[in-house]
């Protein structure tokens, strides 16, 4: 496979990652959201494998398999189990309505394109143009954490943000050193367990996962 073709496939996958990020912003149902998160993970995994093959960085295969196992299978499974156990199936409440969120999202994409333009000029790698998309995915994950009230959705937003970082690492530097990536994967896994435990505690205390409820934690009301 020549680099030109790899760069094209990389660009196409970047577009799909961006699309899943926006779809997650628009998604109202919890189950759909987790499915979209799994799809995004799959795209990242495929992308890492292709970049690894084209640039002959074989440790990227390991991170590709790691992504596949963690973000496509394990984390969605844990999240599904959580929402089934806590019986959350209702539509997600949003702070800002969805079309407005989309417009803000478009603004963020343009902003990150503007921001990464100088790096694009300097870099000589074939995958440099996807850096803007990676940054946009990070910002969109952040936007999702801000605009949603539900704890589970915020966690999915956080994980999507981490997806963006992983994508940035594969497209800007052909992947981080393996040790770092293993560490990050372990961190995400531990974080998922901690989130799970916290969800149970929040649910037991407030009988809801709406983070607005936490305003009641303030003293002296």
């Amino acid at each position: 496979m020549d680099l030109e073709l790899a760069a094209r496939i990389n660009g196409f996958l970047a577009a799909l990652v961006l699309l899943t990020a926006f779809a997650m912003l628009a998604q109202r149902r919890m189950n759909g959201l987790i499915h979209l998160f799994a799809w995004q993970g799959l795209l990242l995994s495929v992308n890492a494998a292709i970049v690894g093959y084209a640039a002959a960085r074989h440790h990227l295969y390991i991170s590709s398999v790691l992504t596949l196992g963690l973000k496509v299978v394990l984390l969605p499974y844990i999240l599904h189990a959580l929402i089934r156990r806590l019986r959350i199936h209702k539509e997600i409440e949003v702070v800002v309505n969805i079309p407005t969120t989309m417009l803000i999202g478009i603004g963020l994409v343009i902003f990150s394109y503007q921001l990464t333009a100088p790096i694009r000029e300097l870099s000589t790698m074939v995958t440099r143009s996807t850096l803007a998309v990676a940054l946009a995915t990070v910002l969109l994950g952040l936007l999702m954490m801000i605009t949603r009230r539900h704890a589970v959705t915020q966690i999915v937003g956080f994980l999507a943000l981490e997806n963006g970082l992983f994508f940035a690492a594969t497209s800007a530097t052909y992947g981080m050193p393996l040790v770092v990536e293993l560490g990050v994967a372990l961190d995400v896994l531990i974080a998922a367990f901690i989130f799970g435990i916290f969800f149970f505690h929040i649910h037991a205390t407030f009988e809801s996962l709406d983070v607005e409820q936490m305003a009641r934690l303030k003293e002296g009301d």
Binding site: L19, F22, A26, P99, M102, V109, S129
Partner: protein, 315 residues
Amino acid sequence: MNAYPFLLEVLQVAALALVAPLFAGWVKVLKCWSQGRTSPGLLQPVRDLRKLFAKEVLLAENASWVFRFAPYLVFGVALLAGGVIPILSVDLPLAPTADVIVIVALFAIARFFTALAGMDIGTAFGGMGASREMTVASLAEPAMLMAIFTISLGSQTTSLAEIVRSIQGGHHLLLRPSFAFAVLAFVLIALAETGRIPVDNPATHLELTMIHEAMILEYSGRHLALIEWAGMMKLALFSYLGIAAFFPWGIAVSRDLRALGLAFGAMALKLAAVGAGIVLIETGLAKMRIFRLTEFLGAAFLMATLGMISFFILE
């Protein structure tokens, strides 16, 4: 004087006006099959049109000239668009007169007069339909133009004939993300503009949900026939427009009859595939609540804009 361009225009308009009812029939037949019903046959829309043309025109007492004029205008505009969009060949004498933006404007004229006619007779349904149609239009048109601009960026022209030429000469086209986004956006918009299922249900006259049918409720006889025919042509036109802008392989570029024959075959095959696609979407989805339309068309606009952005970022 060479008669070939004129022959071509006649063929094009015929390919639109005569194929459109068959295409509508094909969609109906497929839909019947997919729902396990016996279909009325491919020619049912033709029979319907013939019946309507034979019937007497009944006009409401206070109908003005707008009401009588609108069907002819809508039909004429559809025919004109058929002469401009490259259906069989790019070598059209009319093609340089109108680019894609003009074609979108042509659709807008037809819609404007249909809405006026809907309000003209002063029934509640007419006004309701007109208001809904314009709501859909105001959301769909910017998205449509964005999708078209995304394609134009790639081929650096807004003329459809030139777009067809440049895509046929291009390479690696299917791997271009902007192109894929534009296709997705175009499909969503075409569903909204032609009144297919997630937006409007073409098969019923259900009072509270209809959009297009509400405006033409008072029409009868040949007026109704013309409007229905124009509606079928609009469905075919959007298919042709999509085919020309995104999958133009097969449309004749050279001036010989064999290429034309091939183009006709390719057109028939692609239309059949488009019909199957429409039926697949319609059986898979339920009609959307009208207040959800902003989200549906907002998504179309988003895709078109993402396509345009990704053209700059990724290509």
